[in-house]
């Protein structure tokens, strides 16, 4: 779905024609090793669980109800290189493996403290690929969450047109 959208965008850029312009003759989307790809469904599911664990729902909205999993999926598919997305898939598989190893359950079936412990342990990982995977997911989750309309307008005092600049205001 994301991939088709990317192809549409390229087609539009090429002047509304489905054929690529002359200067781009040499490449097709498949020949671009850079461009990301969407996650497989099982991985997407684990990812959604992780995202909700990082920023859960309570008396204030959490990441899931603000659509952050969809945002993270879009970013991975569109803005990150294939090898980064492959590393994310590997990381998600490791999370499932650790859940089974430690608690004999899938990640989704762990209690909240168990989920949190497992993810926190990734931050202390010596394996840099695993550390990077979690760091990326955490940062994307935070980005999606803090840039949402709800968080921006309710908590972060978002103002498109402040109308002024005062340089020295007492707190």
């Amino acid at each position: 779905m994301h991939r088709r959208k990317s192809i549409q965008n390229i087609a539009l850029l090429a002047g509304g024609l489905l054929a690529l312009p002359n200067w781009a003759k040499a490449w097709s989307l498949d020949s671009l090793p850079m461009v990301g790809k969407p996650l497989n469904p099982a991985a997407e599911n684990t990812l959604a669980q992780i995202i909700e664990t990082i920023i859960p729902e309570s008396d204030t909205k959490g990441a899931k109800s603000l659509g952050v999993p969809a945002f993270v999926n879009t970013m991975l598919a569109d803005c990150y290189e294939r090898k980064v997305v492959e590393n994310v898939e590997k990381g998600l598989a490791v999370v499932e493996k650790l859940a089974t190893q430690r608690y004999q359950q899938s990640f989704a079936n762990l209690t909240t403290p168990q989920k949190e412990q497992l993810l926190l342990s990734l931050e202390k990982e010596t394996d840099s690929n695993l550390k990077d995977f979690y760091s990326l997911i955490k940062n994307l989750t935070i980005q999606g969450y803090t840039s949402s309309e709800y968080v921006q307008t309710t908590f972060l005092k978002y103002e498109m047109a402040p109308g002024h600049y005062y340089g020295c205001v007492s707190i």
Binding site: N9, P56, T74, L119, L156, M160, Y165, Y166, G167
Partner: protein, 568 residues
């Protein structure tokens, strides 16, 4: 040449043609039209109508699918083009096949190919030149003497400042003359502190509020333009629906249109200026229609070349005739030479302790400014000329990303204020040298059949020494101010990164060593005027756009009077 009828020629005939619709072209259009000249304004890019064509101007951050990051697949389609690579501004970026060029040495070239050009995208910082700048070449023995002085241009600075709307403080500095100012934007606490430190510790330099083209208090002349007070959105380079800052789209082009005398023709890539050997003057302009590929000729009594410094050079170089085999007006052989830019290599930052009980409110579309302090009264350093410094301080959010779950969420929802930080950036005058030049490729052409440009621009030892001085001076000033973790370095950015391209068609007194006279006319072809960055004989340390506007308004009014006196 196509056999065109008398009627067709008449239909394509104007009193004046302006090449380029940007920050200087818009002024030529306005002045010529307001003086009653039927004026054709040629713009190579698409139309951008004020407000209507600012698609992202009112979008909130969450309305951008990737929060501003351009997807990789889309990025790939732009090749090595870097400018405007954000979702908010991608519609300003040009495609790689629009105008390939050859960098003999690395040169960053930012182009705004649409109506309004880079006047929609500029940093809006404005400062006047003084005679310390105009007299630079004569005093220090580089380039050639400017054929004008501050007294010639001062009334025109006033003229353009009043119409554009320039905010600033009257600082009373001889080397940075005050202008017609709207109320200044404030310096913040930390900037004020640095200002005090400089006042206490130095006699040769000062930090002032940066003068900028923002309507802090719109006057009747601005309201008449349909523009309103700047709302401090800091979304300027998306185009401002309020006209809160000066752009051709919001200001000069509508003024020209209002006269009924302007014809604006987008998608018109200028190929060359037509030279009439019999009349010994230019008769018009040849364009390639960007959509149809058709070559069309337009005719006029006077032609203003405001295509942007680099393109103005290209057009003149490509205007070949028997009389001018190496480019229109190029008797001196210097067309395309002594091309220059600003030195933006020096960058600095520091952490600021204290000021914990103070913060800022709203957004700042401007910044602080330290005018040039090196070699002002006399030549004293081991490098020529000097640099101005932009200064900006701010207080960041102290958001902590540690932890997980409810704790993390609460940190994100209630971020404490972090510490203050400050940064500084250099704007150095460069000494134009003959070997820094633009020329046409003898074989390669672009898709319009126009020869590709070769840029050959490199830094000199003077630039290297100047960056070193900037680093040392900022370290010293920041240290005196008590700032910590001071980091001043040489970014080694390419020439052109400054986006202040200048020269190649320089003004001068002597036709043997310059292209343009004191009125921006080609010495030997007086009905052609060049008044954008290409005309600059030296670069100064000031953001140049205000000077382009003033020079253009002056040249356009001269052109009108010369036309009336039948001199052209």
């Amino acid at each position: 040449m196509a056999n065109i009828s008398i009627d067709a020629i008449k239909k394509n005939t104007y009193d004046a043609i302006v090449i380029g619709s940007g920050i200087s072209g818009g002024w030529a259009a306005k002045e010529l039209c307001e003086n009653g000249l039927k004026t054709l304004v040629l713009e190579r890019g698409r139309d951008v109508k004020h407000i209507e064509d600012y698609p992202t101007a009112n979008k909130h951050p969450w309305e951008f699918e990737h929060r501003g990051q351009v997807p990789l697949a889309v990025r790939e389609a732009y090749g090595s083009i870097r400018s405007f690579m954000r979702e908010e501004t991608l519609h300003w970026a040009i495609k790689p096949d629009e105008q390939p060029f050859v960098q003999e040495k690395p040169f960053s070239w930012t182009r705004g190919y649409h109506v309004g050009g880079k006047s929609l995208l500029w940093a809006r910082q404005t400062q006047r030149w003084s005679d310390f700048d105009f007299e630079g070449p004569a005093r220090d023995g580089y380039a050639v003497d400017w054929p004008i002085r501050y007294a010639d241009i001062a009334p025109w600075y006033s003229h353009v400042e009043k119409f554009a709307g320039i905010s600033g403080n009257k600082d009373g500095l001889p080397h940075l003359p005050d202008g017609e100012f709207l109320p200044p934007i404030e310096l913040n606490c930390v900037e004020q502190h640095l200002q005090g430190v400089l006042a206490q510790n130095y006699t040769d330099r000062q930090l002032i509020q940066g003068r900028c083209a923002h309507l802090t208090s719109p006057q009747a002349v601005h309201l008449q333009q349909g523009r309103g007070k700047c709302q401090h959105r800091n979304l300027c380079n998306r185009g401002c629906p309020l006209g809160g800052y000066f752009s051709a789209n919001a200001s000069t082009l509508p003024a020209a249109a209002k006269t009924g005398k302007m014809t604006l023709r987008p998608h018109s890539v200028v190929h060359s200026i037509i030279f009439d050997a019999k009349k010994d003057k230019a008769s018009g302009v040849r364009i390639v229609d960007a959509n149809t590929g058709e070559m069309i000729e337009y005719f006029a009594k006077i032609i203003f070349v405001n295509a942007g410094a680099v393109n103005s050079n290209l057009i003149l170089l490509n205007s070949i005739s028997t009389r001018y085999p190496t480019g229109l007006g190029n008797d001196s052989g210097l067309l395309g030479k002594y091309f220059a830019c600003h030195n933006y290599r020096g960058k600095a930052s520091a952490q600021v302790e204290g000021f914990q009980d103070k913060t800022t409110s709203g957004k700042n579309p401007s910044n602080g400014y330290i005018p040039r302090f090196r070699n002002v009264q006399k030549q004293e350093m081991d490098f020529l000329r000097g640099y101005s410094i932009g200064v900006g301080a701010g207080r960041w959010s102290g958001s902590n990303r540690e932890g997980i779950g409810e704790d993390l969420k609460n940190q994100l929802l209630h971020p404490p204020l972090g510490n203050w930080g400050i940064s500084a950036w250099m704007q150095g005058e460069t000494v134009p040298i003959e070997s820094n030049h633009l020329r046409l490729h003898t074989e390669l052409k672009d898709k319009y059949g126009i020869p590709q440009l070769i840029t050959s621009v490199a830094w000199t030892e003077n630039d290297d020494k100047m960056v070193k001085d900037f680093q040392e001076q900022v370290e010293e000033m920041f240290t005196k101010a008590g700032f910590k973790n001071i980091n001043a370095n040489d970014s080694h950015s390419n020439p052109g990164s400054d986006i202040h391209e200048m020269g190649g068609v320089r003004m001068g007194k002597d036709p043997k060593t310059s292209l343009l006279n004191e009125w921006n006319q080609l010495h030997s072809c007086k009905n052609v005027f060049v008044s954008d960055g290409a005309c600059m004989t030296s670069t100064g340390t000031q953001n140049p756009s205000l000077t382009y506007m003033a020079i253009t308004a002056r040249a356009a009014n001269y052109a009108v009077s010369a036309l009336k006196k039948r001199e052209l």
